[in-house]
Symmetry: C2
Subunit: 174 residues, 2 copies
């Protein structure tokens, strides 16, 4: 099944990168610390072939880096890049929702009062937390600095895919 | 492929509910407004059989409700439940990450200054926004009110799955 949803919605594009089975669990484990391939197999319980494909995919898109931590013998570990590390908010949003609505046994809390935390939204420019009425979608006019993830997508974007994305522009809301 | 990751991590449990292909795109569309089945087919471009299975799955887990909006002729639409509506934070976290790192054309902004917003974390009890150092995981000791999603999971939880979940307890972090 194709990963491409044919939409310009940034959420759909994010899911094209991290929406496949096991991918966000790999990210979750790497958010704690760099991991060797064998450690990931053991902590996740995912099939090695699948894990290898997911790591390669994430590496090609600039989410994960493979780093040598020993030359003799050669030993590598996986580590999140800066953009990969920013997936922490996705992992936490899923965690907070799951803690509230599903029978999991862990919860993210405020360390001082031990009360479960909530997601909020903030404007860094104005340095304030925003009420829902102050949040809206805009079409983007400024060019972004290309990252590996962007480069990979652009390289693989056929004219048909571009047409599909443009056609889906009006649907791209959340 | 099984949806079950065999973990007690609330993020993994959330992905068992909303991690399949198209599911979060359905949620995204329903966050805007209730939708008829045909509207969802048109806005998403998903195959009708798949969309039907996803909606049934979400309905059984208390994320979506099917609501009659006309008796003669009988016409139904899909609407998010309260817990389904709280997936807005997951959709937004994916949107904000995608807007920043991928070539999408939409961005969530602060309406007053038009600057892209960021995810933050808040303690409702203390009424304050939290720095990263004030957020941590805890094992949960209080029982939660069962929701349809919980009931479904409990019903389908075999002894083996429980053992797997208990065994995975130490891995369940994010």
């Amino acid at each position: 099944m194709s990963r491409d949803y044919g939409q310009v919605c940034p959420m759909a594009l994010s899911l094209e990168i991290v929406g496949e089975r096991w991918t966000l669990l790999i990210v979750r484990d790497l958010l704690r610390a760099p991991r060797k391939f064998q450690d990931l197999i053991e902590s996740l319980g995912a099939p090695p072939g699948l894990l290898s494909r997911r790591l390669k995919w994430l590496e090609e898109r600039g989410i994960v880096e493979r780093r040598m931590y020993s030359e003799h013998p050669p030993r590598a570990e996986y580590v999140l890049t800066a953009s990969g590390g920013e997936l922490r908010d996705v992992v936490r949003a899923l965690t907070i929702w799951g803690s509230k609505h599903l029978p999991g046994e862990r919860v993210l809390v405020h360390t001082r009062c031990e009360h479960p935390i909530e997601v909020a939204y903030r404007c860094a420019r104005c340095d304030e937390t925003l009420p829902p009425s102050d949040i809206a979608y805009r079409m983007e006019s400024t060019a972004k600095t290309p990252t590996p993830a962007i480069t990979m997508i652009r390289r693989s974007t056929s004219r048909t895919a571009v047409r599909r994305r443009k056609g889906a522009a009006r649907k791209a809301t959340a």
